[in-house]
């Protein structure tokens, strides 16, 4: 939350000048045009923009799940110092299993319809038998301690030894199921035991999305990527999920990357916000700073263009034109054909991200002029 914004905290993930294009029959879609931003430890960073601006592609690049026609031509993505773009598929698989978890917009497409929720959720735990053994051992000691009162010095030692022993398959399943129930309770699903035996189609959209979140959290990831996770839901269900995320934020030790086109969601949940337009990060600032003092003409336009409850307006201001075709992106600043304040140089020269204040950066020539 805003009050506990982690200031200039340590960086968890750093994207540096990431360029990406999709090969298509119609030509190359220049989807990411040098993306640079960092996610700090324990913060919630919002990534906002309209459809086609590259928010989801950015997330897919981080987790290494790009389609085959995608080509990263430049840049690096550093997760705790390790370049993910240079990792092998096997390493990426491990990173997805242990470090970075992602939840997508439509839970229906990402849950396997022929497996129960339990099958899919328990698998997360079964992939890590050592952890299951540790958990089982810990439970045994706790039980033993309860029985023997608090004189548990010796039992602790025993437990440490027994934790090294592997569990049998049946035991593993049992522990995995217990852990699954716990994690489902954590995402406030009532009746967790029953839900484990349900198939995805037996659950509502909100419940499915909770299951997806549970699967992501089960791994205790360093980075939790939420890609438009409330978009497909109704307002009252969306409120439930937002409330859940807010509560979980206190529990999750990791960072969150929240991708959305809804500025309302960003205002409620994020510490910092990156605004994207046509494959570029155009502005990056703390959430309160961004809403009170948006600098980039696109951010300003976007905020004036949305109807807001409690802000009665005669007319909405509009951004002329529409989002450009990224096969033939505009030269220079990609926003210049729609920008009411475009200068001559905007057409030829791409603006760099510059600092305009404490923790507020913007990619716009207007502010370079002012500075110099």
């Amino acid at each position: 939350m805003s009050g506990s914004a982690p200031g200039d905290g340590e960086v968890l993930l750093q994207l540096k000048n990431v360029r990406l294009r999709f090969k298509t029959y119609a030509g190359d879609v220049k989807a990411l045009d040098g993306i640079t931003f960092a996610i700090r430890k324990r913060e919630a960073l919002g990534l906002v923009g309209e459809s086609g601006c590259g928010k989801s592609v950015t997330a897919l690049t981080i987790v290494g799940l790009l389609p085959e026609n995608a080509q990263v031509s430049d840049g690096e993505i550093l997760l705790s110092g390790k370049n993910l773009l240079k990792s092998t598929p096997e390493e990426m698989r491990k990173i997805r299993a242990n470090n970075v978890a992602m939840v997508f917009q439509d839970p229906t497409t990402f849950l396997n319809p022929v497996l129960t929720i339990g099958d899919q959720l328990e698998e997360v735990f079964l992939l890590n038998p050592e952890r299951l053994a540790r958990v089982a051992a810990k439970r045994r000691t706790e039980d033993a301690q309860k029985k023997a009162g608090t004189s548990g010095e010796r039992t602790k030692k025993e437990a440490r030894e027994s934790s090294l022993a592997m569990l049998s398959k049946a035991e593993q399943r049992k522990v995995a199921r217990e852990l699954s129930i716990e994690v489902l309770k954590k995402v406030r699903l009532p009746d967790a035991e029953r839900i484990l035996d349900d198939y995805p189609h037996e659950l509502s959209g909100g419940m499915r999305q909770r299951c997806m979140i549970a699967m992501a959290l089960a791994r205790k990831p360093d980075l939790f990527i939420a890609d438009e996770i409330t978009t497909a839901l109704d307002v009252t269900i969306q409120a439930q999920i937002l409330e859940l995320l807010r509560e979980l934020k206190r529990e999750i030790a990791g960072s969150t990357l929240l991708i959305t086109h809804d500025l309302g969601v960003v205002a409620e949940l994020c510490d910092r916000v990156a605004v994207m337009y046509a494959g570029n990060v155009v502005e990056l600032a703390g959430v309160e700073d961004l809403f009170a003092n948006p600098l980039h003409p696109y951010t300003q336009g976007l905020m004036r263009a949305i109807p807001m409850i409690g802000r009665p307006l005669e007319r909405l201001e509009t951004i002329p034109g529409s989002v450009p075709d990224l096969i033939y992106p505009p030269s220079g600043c990609r926003f210049h054909p729609r920008c009411p304040m475009a200068l001559d140089r905007c057409e030829v020269e791409k603006p760099e991200l510059i600092h305009t204040g404490k923790d507020h950066t913007v990619a716009c020539h207007l502010y370079e002029e002012k500075k110099s």
Binding site: T236, Q238, A305, P307, I309, E317, S322
Partner: protein, 338 residues
């Protein structure tokens, strides 16, 4: 007193569910379950609700694109529920509709010109093809496109442009009442504002009456004069926009509005989070249909369905109790810079 353009009385639409080997009707999806509406000349009536609440079905029943199960639709004093043939066609041309998905609502094999002139020809509004062309040229300019666009096909346009074409086509019949069924939910926010402004301009210029259907509470607030809140096929509360958004009296309206994330971090607030999901419209809860999610529900709500009754003139609420609830949205005193 302004004239009533459209009145809907006791509208229901039950879709049968068939099952068993004989494919007999076993049950009904009660999509619309008793809706009354009154829309006045020149106003915009906003119909808001979550998915499955039946708002789109209401829109389609008014035009009789779906035949209502029971109820009456009265357009300018004339009951059109049972009209047939030419008489109905003459009335229907005064009611336009714009659908949600501009990618599905235009025929991909028809040029824009054909799409615009077809309704004019069908309704015999123009004497000759030349006149039809002329009118198509006027319309396309009126919605902010230019004449060249007439000879193109739908796939050559962006979503926003397509929705402009859909607007032009609805206007081709010279309607005075237009049903807007989620006209901007497929569009990006920067384009949404353009379409909303266009719709406002056209309303003023052509003195149109709108029924604006949307799940987006902010858009409804921006566009409407009066608002009706639907839940599971019924209207829970209807009133002037300001009352709905600032002093709602139905717990569902209150929860719905307070659930909306507001794009202003300074306004973070206590929200009412409803538990559970919308019940299935096949098994509507007994008594008050909202009681399963209502924190104020009592045993009485289980037994008796509350009628939609007037609290004040023009403010109708379907709840047994007069609840005192806080304002769902704090209004900022400090005006923001943007």
């Amino acid at each position: 007193m302004t004239q009533t353009v459209l009145e809907v009385k006791g509208l229901t639409k039950w879709f049968p569910i068939s099952g068993g080997i004989l494919a007999r009707t076993t049950n009904y999806v009660k999509a619309v379950d008793g809706v009354d509406l009154e829309i006045k000349e020149g106003e915009t009536y906003g119909l808001v609700g979550e998915s499955g609440s039946g708002k789109t079905t209401v829109g389609k029943c008014i035009l009789r694109l779906i035949e209502p199960t029971t109820g009456e639709i009265i357009y300018r004093g004339q009951n059109i529920t049972k009209l047939k043939g030419d008489t109905f066609r003459r009335i229907r041309r005064k009611i336009g509709i714009i659908f949600q998905d501009p990618y599905a609502s235009l025929d991909p094999r028809q040029t824009i010109e054909a799409a615009l002139t077809e309704p004019m020809k069908y309704h015999k509004l123009v004497e000759s093809d030349d006149k039809a062309h002329e009118r198509a040229r006027e319309l396309i300019k009126r919605v902010g496109l230019n004449e060249d666009h007439l000879y193109r096909f739908p796939h050559e346009f962006s979503g926003g442009q397509r929705q402009r074409i859909a607007v032009a086509r609805a206007l081709a019949m010279d309607p005075d009442f237009v049903i807007l069924d989620e006209p901007t939910s497929f569009l990006d926010v920067s384009v949404q504002a353009q379409i909303l402004n266009l719709l406002s301009d056209l309303q003023e210029e052509l003195n149109l009456t709108y029924l604006f259907i949307s799940h987006n509470l902010s858009v409804i607030e921006h566009m409407s004069d009066r608002v009706g809140v639907m839940y599971l096929g019924k209207i829970m509360e209807t009133a002037e926009k300001q009352i709905i958004y600032q002093r709602p009296e139905h717990p569902y309206t209150h929860a719905l509005i307070s659930a909306l994330p507001i794009p202003n971090p300074a306004l973070r607030r206590q929200r009412v989070v409803l538990s559970g999901d919308i019940p299935s419209p096949v098994n509507v809860p007994s008594g008050c249909r909202f009681r399963t999610r209502c924190s104020y529900a009592t045993d009485y709500c289980k037994e008796k369905e509350p009628p939609l009754s007037a609290r004040q003139p023009g403010h109708l609420v379907s709840c047994h109790y007069e609840l005192k609830m806080s304002t769902p949205i704090p209004i900022t005193k400090t005006s923001r810079k943007i």
